[in-house]
Every structure is written in structure tokens, then in C-alpha cells.
């Protein structure tokens, strides 16, 4: 099916026609640019200059605008990739779980180095940030298929099977033909539900809240949500009721309900489990929200790394339409139409930010929008858009089903209900735990078998690195807030290696729109490199704090406002890690200037030692 990507012929040649067909399938709509380019990437393994021109012509954009989108998302490539593209998750949890050996095994088996594509265009090997499989690391994606719990041996066998021509899906889920999409998804990736709670992961009736909601007026629905005390579960913790009320009150003839299933925060995989096991409940919640805010159109923004869940989610949408709970005349109510489209992302953490998610859905690079206006006032295509997290919609449905008081009674006075925690790292039982807000970190660590933890990253890289002395703090919005990520580190882990990785993550994922985040994070990352190389001066600690403050205060979106957190929270909770590494220089000569490495190149060219800095020079 593949055409040799490097062959570029004239306008009416076969690839150009096929690309035009792809554009036509999406109505030549420039807002569907991401879908178009995903299909071009899948069909031709790259977005060639020729493709850029063809897509631009079909959608009425300039070539550089299309190139802007194609060059933004890491799953789209402007250079030819292999027919089989293997992406190894290089998150810190995978590194600690043996990523290096697995990578070496793949390299040996496929005969190419990481980051390379084989000459015959058959394989590409690459790293990618967290793909949401931290509870079964090390993990990897083979095209859209996920393989987990990798060992060097398994990597070698996968490599040889692929070389023998076996399809990735066959390798990941042998005998997949007989399985339904839901069963295939559950077979490919373990759910690891370790503790089911009363709201989400326990038994949930099929009509979980929509029927009850339809007996209320839209305002009454919003009142119930507000009365329940439900707050956004994506990490920001904004009052869901107030958000729905704002979206409902904004006059407009079209309104949208978006489900944020980007789940890009490293260490977070609870939405993966909800999408696998509670997709119905989530869509029920979206439908209730549509009723409340008066929206007829909905969208689920599914991260590109979870493409393996696409068929399952499409099937659930289809079954709801068939059951009269989605599409036209829902539950037979005239005038209440609401349908949902699936929009796949393509590898961009920043698209978890509401504005960037909307930009991505509009076929633009995933850059956050200027605020104000806020999405609930002017969002997708300029219309009011309600964006909530997967878990938030699930809670909303249950609240309408069981009543606001039932939900409010759980948790604490300002963090009501239960929360899904995705626990990974150095603990016995990594997985998803549904627990009421307010429990202490120590209690959670006991539950997960991580009592000997020395540090816990609460809320992923943009959260807080908590030390043992603070394990008494409570998991709630007004103490240790988290979108769900709990990453446990034992005493043998190197704190600065973790901070170094998280800063490289933010450098890789910054959209580049604003100066402090684009440039400032690169400087922070380089400074951490100096600390790790033992080349830091005492005032470099103040430099880290000072630069972090500038980035936080002037950044344009949440990414830049939280990217210095790995440094600031470890500086606060692990000060010795930094102070032990700095070299003071009493004579004000910078200990951070490493003359030996600076003259290394010249030493090799001249093939002699330094007469000044090599003591043993005779």
C-alpha cells in the first residue's frame, strides 16, 4: 500500500490524487488539518513538501501554514519514517524500569540506532515522552499499537517478529481477530484497577444519570453540579458548576462540549482506565453537560498515544446512538440533539491546555489561545466551549444519578467526592486507586506498598516533589493538589536525574509561543546539567530561583507557569541535593568553568598536553 515516499512526480500522479482524496474525505476543511495530516502520515510515512503543497491547495491555506501544523506535532514527520515506527516511552519511570537495555535490544535486532530510520524505509526507532503506561513500564508504541512490560528479550522477539512481517496488532494481542474492540483494548493494556471506589470504579448502573438529568431543567442540572462541590479533575481544580454556568449563560447559537482526553501529564493514566472501562459513563456525563449548557455538538480530544482506543470509543458512541442516548431526539425528547466526534491528537503535551486543545481542533498548531476571552465565552470557532476532563464528566453523570449530597458527603470540606490516583514508580502495586479526597500521602503509600519511598512526585512534573517529612500532607485541592499522578521514588533514585528529565520534558513540549517558556526552560535545563556535572557555583541556586520566578510570572499559559516546579519544589524539599554539589570559589574564579573540557578538542587536534593546565607537563 505504500508508495516509495521519496518519489515525487507531477501533479496528477497517484500520490497527489490520494492526498487530495484524503482532504476531500474531510470536506477540504482546513479545521480538520490535524486529521488530514495524520492520514497523510499514516499513508505515506511522512508529510513531504509535495504533500504540503497539495494539502495547502485543497484546503485554501498557504504551504507554510500547513508546514506549521505538520512541524508542530511530534507524530507527524517532515522526513520519511519507517513503515513500522517504534516509539519507546522515555519517561523517568521507564528509565528506572530498564529502558536502556530494552532500547539496546531493539537497536541490535533492527540494526538501526535510536532516532534513525532504516535505509529501506521499513523501521524507525525513536523515543517519546510519557504514553500513559507508567504502571506497566517500560512500554512502547508500534505505530498505533501499545506493548508493555518490555524486557530486552521481549524487545528482541518483537523485533524479529516484525522483521518476519507479523503485524504489530498480532504481536501485541495474539488472536485479536475474535475480540471486540473493548476486549482488544483491555487485552493490549492492563487496567490495573487496584482500589475501586463508590463513585467511578465500583459497580455503575447503565443509565447512570442522564435519565434523571432530563427530568430537571438545565439550570437545575447546573445547580446540582455546583451543590455537589465537584471541581475539575484535570489538575486545575476549577469549580465545574461555575464553568457550566458560564458556558450556559453566554448567548450564542452554537455551543460545544469538549472532553479533554489528552492526559499528557507524565505519570497520569487514570483517564486511560476510564476510557477503557467507563466510556459509556463519560459520554453520559458529556450528554448531561450538553443538556445543561444547550450544546448540540461535542468532541472527545483523544491523545495520539491512545489511538489504540479509537475503535472501542467509536463502538461505544455507535451503541449509544443506536440506544437513543446520543444523536437525534435523545431519550425521545424533541429538540434535544447532541452528537460527539472523536478528534485524535498527534503527540503534543501542551494540547492538554484548554486553549491549545481548541487550537488543535481548529486545525492549527497546538498553541494556547490569548485569555481573555476564556473558552466558555469564546472557544472553538469563536463559540462558547465547555472543556472538561474525562473524570469530571464521569463524576458529573454519577452526581445526577445519585444526587449532589451523596457526592458532597465524601472527601473534605473543599475537595468533595472521590479522586482517581494513578500510582507508579517504586511501589509494589502500581495502578489506579479511587479514593476520597483528604487522605494523607503516607496513607496512600501504605495502600500502594511504597512505604519506603524517599520522594513522591505528586501531580506529575508540573506538581510537587514531596519529601518524607511531608508525607503527612493531605491529597486535596488546598494541600497537595494533583490531576492524579503519584510517582513514587525510592531512596536509591537520584533526585537531580529526575529533575533533569522533567526539565528536558518541558523544553521538548513547550509550544515556543512566548519567550520565558521557550527560552527560559532551556536555560533552567542547562543549569541543572551544570549542577549534575558538579560545575555549579553557590549563587547558581539563587539563579535557579530567580529565573524560575521570571518564567512563572511572565509565561502565557499553565505550561510555563508550572515548568519550573520540578526545580522549585526540590529546592524547597531537598535543599541538600543542590547545596552539596556547589563549589564555592573564595577567589571569585568560577569553579563552574571547566577548562579541561574546553581544551579537550584542541588537545586532540594538537595531540599534546597543555603547558598551563596539565600539571604533569614536563
Amino acid at each position: 500500500m505504500d508508495v516509495d515516499p521519496s518519489s515525487e512526480r507531477n501533479d496528477s500522479d497517484e500520490p497527489t490524487l490520494r492526498i487530495a482524496a484524503i482532504c476531500a474525505a474531510y470536506g477540504n476543511d482546513r479545521h480538520r488539518m490535524l486529521d488530514i495530516l495524520r492520514d497523510v502520515q499514516e499513508g505515506f510515512r511522512w508529510v513531504s513538501p509535495r504533500s504540503l503543497e497539495t494539502v495547502a491547495a485543497c484546503t485554501g491555506l498557504s504551504r507554510v501554514q500547513v508546514e506549521g501544523v505538520a512541524s508542530f506535532y511530534s507524530f507527524l514527520s517532515l522526513t520519511p519514517k519507517g513503515r513500522i515506527t517504534i516509539r519507546l516511552c522515555d519517561d523517568i519511570v521507564d528509565r528506572f524500569a530498564g529502558l536502556a537495555a530494552v532500547a539496546a535490544a531493539f537497536e541490535a535486532e533492527l540494526g538501526i540506532r535510536m532516532g534513525e530510520t532504516s535505509a529501506d524505509g521499513s523501521f524507525s526507532l525513536d523515543y517519546t515522552p510519557c504514553i500513559g503506561m507508567c504502571d506497566q513500564a517500560p512500554a512502547a508504541m508500534i505505530n498505533d499499537v501499545v506493548v508493555t512490560r518490555l524486557t530486552p528479550e521481549r524487545a528482541a522477539s518483537i523485533g524479529s517478529a516484525l522483521r518476519a512481517g507479523r503485524l504489530p496488532l498480532e504481536i501485541a494481542v495474539p488472536g485479536h481477530a475474535g475480540l471486540s474492540p473493548a476486549e482488544r483494548a483491555a487485552a493490549m493494556v492492563e487496567n490495573n484497577i487496584r482500589h475501586a471506589g463508590p463513585v467511578l470504579l465500583g459497580p455503575v448502573p447503565s443509565d447512570a444519570g442522564l435519565r434523571q438529568a432530563l427530568e430537571l431543567t438545565p439550570t437545575a442540572i447546573i445547580d446540582a453540579i455546583e451543590a455537589s462541590g465537584l471541581r475539575g479533575c484535570g489538575g486545575a481544580g476549577f469549580s465545574t458548576g461555575r464553568k457550566w454556568r458560564a458556558a450556559a449563560s453566554e448567548p450564542a447559537e452554537r455551543r460545544f462540549v469538549f472532553c479533554n482526553a489528552d492526559e499528557g501529564e507524565p505519570g497520569t493514566f487514570k483517564d486511560r482506565v476510564l476510557l477503557t472501562e467507563r466510556a459509556d459513563l463519560m459520554i453520559e456525563g458529556m450528554t448531561i453537560a450538553a443538556r445543561a449548557v444547550g450544546a448540540r455538538e461535542g468532541l472527545i480530544y483523544l491523545r495520539g498515544e491512545y489511538a489504540y482506543l479509537r475503535d472501542h470509543l467509536e463502538a461505544v458512541l455507535e451503541s449509544r446512538r443506536a440506544g437513543g442516548r446520543l444523536g437525534r431526539r435523545i431519550h425521545g425528547i424533541e429538540g434535544f440533539d447532541f452528537d460527539v466526534r472523536l478528534q485524535l491528537g498527534a503527540g503534543a503535551y501542551v494540547c492538554g491546555e484548554e486553549g491549545a486543545l481548541i487550537s488543535s481542533c481548529e486545525g492549527l498548531p497546538g498553541e494556547p489561545k490569548t485569555r481573555p476571552p476564556y473558552p466558555v465565552n469564546r472557544g472553538y470557532l469563536g463559540f462558547p466551549t465547555l472543556v472538561n476532563n474525562v473524570e469530571t464528566f464521569c463524576h458529573a453523570a454519577r452526581i445526577l444519578g445519585r444526587g449532589a449530597d451523596w457526592f458532597r458527603a465524601m472527601g473534605t470540606d473543599r475537595s468533595h467526592g472521590t479522586k482517581l490516583f494513578s500510582v507508579s514508580g517504586d511501589c509494589l502495586n502500581p495502578g489506579v486507586y479511587e479514593l476520597a479526597y483528604g487522605l494523607t500521602l503516607a496513607e496512600l503509600l501504605t495502600l500502594v506498598g511504597g512505604e519506603d519511598a524517599a520522594a513522591v512526585q505528586v501531580g506529575g512534573p508540573s506538581g510537587t516533589m514531596v519529601d518524607r517529612a511531608n508525607f503527612h500532607r493531605r491529597l486535596s485541592f488546598d494541600d497537595l493538589a494533583t490531576g492524579g499522578a503519584i510517582i513514587v521514588f525510592s531512596a536509591r533514585r537520584n533526585i537531580l536525574e529526575i529533575v533533569d528529565y522533567y526539565m528536558s520534558f518541558f523544553v521538548h513540549e513547550s509550544c515556543g509561543y512566548c519567550t520565558p517558556c521557550r527560552v527560559g526552560n532551556v536555560f533552567l535545563h542547562k543549569a541543572i546539567g551544570k549542577f549534575r556535572a558538579g560545575l555549579a557555583n553557590p549563587e547558581d541556586i539563587d539563579y535557579l530561583r530567580d529565573l524560575s520566578q521570571t518564567i512563572i510570572e511572565t509565561s502565557r499559559c499553565g505550561l510555563g507557569m508550572t515548568s519550573p516546579n520540578p526545580i522549585l519544589t526540590t529546592l524547597q524539599n531537598f535543599p541538600l541535593v543542590y547545596s552539596a554539589l556547589v563549589k564555592s570559589s573564595p577567589d571569585r574564579v568560577r569553579a563552574s568553568f571547566d577548562v579541561q573540557s574546553a581544551i579537550e578538542g584542541a588537545r586532540r587536534i594538537a595531540r599534546r598536553r597543555s603547558t598551563i593546565f596539565d600539571e604533569d607537563y614536563t
Binding site: R63, T370, V507, F523, R556
Partner: protein, 239 residues
Amino acid sequence: MSGTGFSFTIDGVAVAAEPGQTIMEAADAAGLYIPRLCDHEGLRHQGGCRVCTVKAGGRSVSACTQPAAPDLVVENETPHLNKLRRDLVEMLFHEGNHLCPICEASGNCELQAMAYRLDMTAPTRFPYLQPSRTLDASHPDIALDTNRCISCGRCIRASQDVDRKGVFGYVGRGIHRRVAVNADDLASTDASIEDAAIAAGTCPVGCIIRKRHGFATPIGERIFDKGPIGHDIEDKRRE
């Protein structure tokens, strides 16, 4: 003030504003200069450089995009904000290759003038990223040295909205994000020296260069030899 107008304060000075006006638009009209690099007369507000960060109602926001509001208390000329702005300007200096002594934009360059206004003279703590992107001198009249680009997007917006040509566009993500042209090189686009995107003053630095005009203005007669950046706005108040 017309019926719907309102007022707010910048550094204690009352400023009149109309609904929908941003803090910077109102300040400019009132002759109060707020430093900025990516905002430009007649172009959409981008809010990318963040040099125009002000405190509005206690929150740090970009003045070029933040709408003014009745009785809003805005801080602009404060040591803390100027320190933030100086850091941002220094970041831009260190992101590219800004070698003023050999640059023909020197004296007319807004980045340089902003560094003068914010007194960027202390020893630096930032590393240099030293990009080495190839120059594009293919066009008969225009040369592009994107090593001096500060990613302000003024050329992109001018070419998009004013010239309706879309010659320039952002490509790449994060620190690799740069301004690219709508073809393999500039000569293959329909760019011309009459474009607003190419006009002097659109590109604030020495990235978009008019061939055969380099070093023509003697030192002393260049734009910022006559006064610090922003003096044209501040002069409005002195009249």
C-alpha cells in the same frame, strides 16, 4: 469621555479607555509608554514576547492583550517589572546571534533600544544558544538572517493581514520554532520590497534586510540615536 468610556490608572495616573480597548492601546493614546517588542501599530496583538508584562489588579498580564477595565489599578514603571522585562530581553539576546557591532540594524533595532532603556549592562548569567541557520539571500532585494529573529511574528501578521500574501509563517515547536517562508526560499515566494511585511520598521531587528541599504544612515542620525525607544509615545504627554 464618550458615554461608554471609563477610566483606570497606570502608576497612579488616570487613563481614559473605551470598551474593548487593551491596556496598551489606552496607555499609548494617553502617552504612557509600556515597553513592547512583538506588538506593532496596525497589527493583531500576539502577546508572545511578554516584554509588555504589567501588573493589573495584582496579576501579571501582557498589556497588549489584556482588556482595560473600569477602575483597574495597573503598575507599569516599577523596578520589579523592569527586571522581568530585562530578563526577557536578555533571553532574546541570548537565543539568537545578536552581534550589534556588525549589524546594519544597529541604532534602528528595537531589541537593542529596549536593552538600552532597561539598562541591560550587568554581567550575564544566561548561556548563549548560538544558532547557525543559513542566511537566505536568494531574493534580489531582500536578505533574511533568521539568526537575529526574535520570533515576534510581526512579519507573519503583516504578510497575512496587510499584504494578504502569507509569505512568512511559524514552523517547528518550542526552542526550534522559527519563522519560515512559504516556499523553498524567499525568491520563490511573491515577496516584494513594497510589502508591509518587508517595510522598514516591521521587522524590529536585523533579520529582514533591504539589500543595498546597509549602513547607509550615519551614526547619530539613526532612529534611537535621537531618543530612547518609546519617546515618540511619551512625547505625546509632554505636549
